[in-house]
Amino acid sequence: MTVLEIRDLSVDYGQGDDAVHAVSSVDLTLERGEVLGLAGESGSGKSTLAHAMTRLLPPPGVITSGEVLYHGRRSSSDGPVDVLGLTPKELRAFRWSEVSVVFQGAMNSLNPVSTVEQQLGDVFRAHRRDMTAARRTERSRELLDLVGISADRLSAYPHQLSGGTRQRVMIAMALALEPEIVVMDEPTTALDVVVQRQILEKMMRLREQLGFAVVFITHDISLLVEFSDRIAIVYAGRVVEQAPAREIYRAAAHPYSRGLLNSFPALHGERRPLTGIPGSPPDLRHVPSGCPFHPRCPSAFDPCDQDTPALVPLGEHRSAACWLHTTSPRRRSGVGAT
């Protein structure tokens, strides 16, 4: 069952000729209760994608096209809701109760001048108007307990908590209204590997318990392989490959995915040489013609610098945008070119 559908979503920063196309016609679906990993280098547009689908884009970010369809339990009777079309009031009600976010800078996502209790309480005050103060405190205690923090931390200010604890508080807050989807935007980049692992494992146990879906964004593909069900690889604002995590790990179809995988040591499994990817991500104001990855691609050939490959299915569950796996444009001219 699909819970979120992103259709043809494009995001620009700025307008006119100077606009940076941070996300270009992305299609993604998120199934109920699954973990969808979004991977890519810094500046590939994965965070922009997450901000766009929650309508949190900071100016000058503009959504230029597309739909974000939400199939919620609560809205199933009247069909899906287009998140991009919500009025400000509907949007406020939608946020956090349907989709919550654990941010990239989660270390700084807590208001430094308010206690944990006040910030958790804010969520209930905004969304559960009829909740009494006593009930709010009780629920806040439950939430902290859920993420393994003792309830006496409710009266603490953020600066009194360690980075890992702050992140747990953010996760507790994200689960406060039992949303259908939790977007985790590089949630553990600021933490050391031990805490990182504890928190992700906690998160995955909670997911089994509560049944929410996760969009997990990170540049650390080894984490994704371990923790997600499906992975979408993002390059220059496009999805270049989508497949179940195991299949990407076993045999990535896109040369960029292979490059990413070879940039990290595997935590489990056999040793393999780390190669990395030569070059650097493209300047999004001047994306190379054809496949944007072709200047860095070890397997680039004829059509790559002229025609942009479309994301086409390669099997039941996977798809890739690469001429290696698509019929040559010379035989079926024009297909796939955007």
């Binding site: 406020r92 009600a93 946020r95 700084n108 308010s114 804010d122």
Partner: protein, 326 residues
């Protein structure tokens, strides 16, 4: 609590140093204040009065500097700051007690108005950057760039002389008896409008600019984005999450500016001949009235210290990060 005690100790030491300097400075000046006074009264002072003046200033020959210093402290604790020359034979304490309320009420109220107004404009301008409110910035900055005495004189020329809408000088209409009567309060308010408005107009820009810039900075902080994501009402995000953090630097600036109310009022009161402490200081300087100057400097110093202490306490209340974990 230990933090507060430590701060209090620091302020006591600073106050001691300031008061001591206040004692030493006039004694390092060339000439003799009593001589100045004798000249001023052209021999109309009796020999007794001259002798007592010498005693009063600690200038009588027999006393050593440490003894003078000790007496100075004694007098200080009795609230005895000596006699003023200009308003002879009124005591300095009385002169200060008469003029200080004028300054405190005019400058105090306008400083608060300017801070509140400027901060509110700054909050909205920073929150909705790019809106028409940004157009207000150059205007307010222009007014704060104009030298204050010129702005004051223009205001007098336009509103007092040409339009005759407001009085040009003084703290209340002549003939009104000071006291808590409707007539006196009304007259005092009426006289305070022109100086008050010019003070607000010339000082509001600082608060607007500071607050707006902090709001812009804070608006992109993760906790503000997170507050949006939480679906909180926009007002709450703006006030509780953004403004609450952005106001911190302004608050300490405000507490410090309270300290300069007493000292910074000179120009205003000169331009509007306002019966406050700045105007008295101006007269004291003209008349080489050392005891009065000394007394006013003491008040200014203490005001700055109290404001600093206030800034510390307020910051402690507003920013939990400055509180020590007990």
């Amino acid at each position: 609590m230990t933090f507060l005690l430590r701060r209090a100790a620091f302020y006591l030491v600073t106050a001691w140093a300031a008061i001591t300097i206040n004692f030493v400075l006039p004694r390092m000046l060339p000439g003799d204040p009593v001589q100045t006074m004798i000249t001023r009264f052209q021999g109309r002072l009796s020999a007794d009065a001259i002798a007592s003046l010498h005693v009063l200033f600690g200038l009588d020959a027999g006393e050593s500097l440490p003894t003078q210093y000790w007496k100075y402290w004694e007098n200080l604790f009795r609230g005895d700051l000596g006699l003023s020359f200009t308003f002879f034979p009124t005591t300095v304490t009385d002169v200060v007690a008469q003029s200080l309320p004028w300054t405190l009420s005019l400058m105090g109220v306008t400083t608060v108005i300017s801070f509140v107004l400027g901060t509110l404009i700054g909050v909205y301008a920073g929150w909705r950057r790019g809106s028409w409110l940004d157009g207000l910035l150059p205007v307010t900055t222009f007014f704060s760039a104009i030298p204050y005495f010129w702005l004051g004189l223009i205001a007098i020329a336009v509103f007092a002389v040409n339009l005759r809408a407001f009085p040009a000088a003084g703290g209340y209409a002549p003939g009104v008896v000071p006291g808590f009567t409707a007539e006196f309060v009304g007259s005092a308010l009426y006289h305070a409008v022109l100086p008050g408005v010019t003070i607000v107009v010339s000082s509001v820009a600082g608060w607007v600019l500071g607050m707006r810039n902090m709001m812009v900075t804070v608006s992109s902080e993760d906790y503000v984005v997170a507050a949006h994501a939480k679906g909180l009402p926009e007002r709450r995000v703006m006030l509780r999450y953004a403004a609450r953090n952005a106001v911190l630097p302004s608050v300490s600036g405000f507490a410090l500016s309270l300290g300069f109310i007493v000292g910074g009022t000179l120009l205003v009161e000169m331009v509007f001949s306002y019966p406050g402490i700045g105007f008295v200081l101006f007269q004291a300087v003209n008349a080489k009235d050392y005891p009065l100057m000394q007394g006013i400097f003491l008040i200014i110093t203490l005001a700055v210290l109290v404001a600093n202490l206030l800034a510390d306490v307020v910051y402690l209340l507003l920013d939990p990060r400055t509180r020590k974990v007990s």
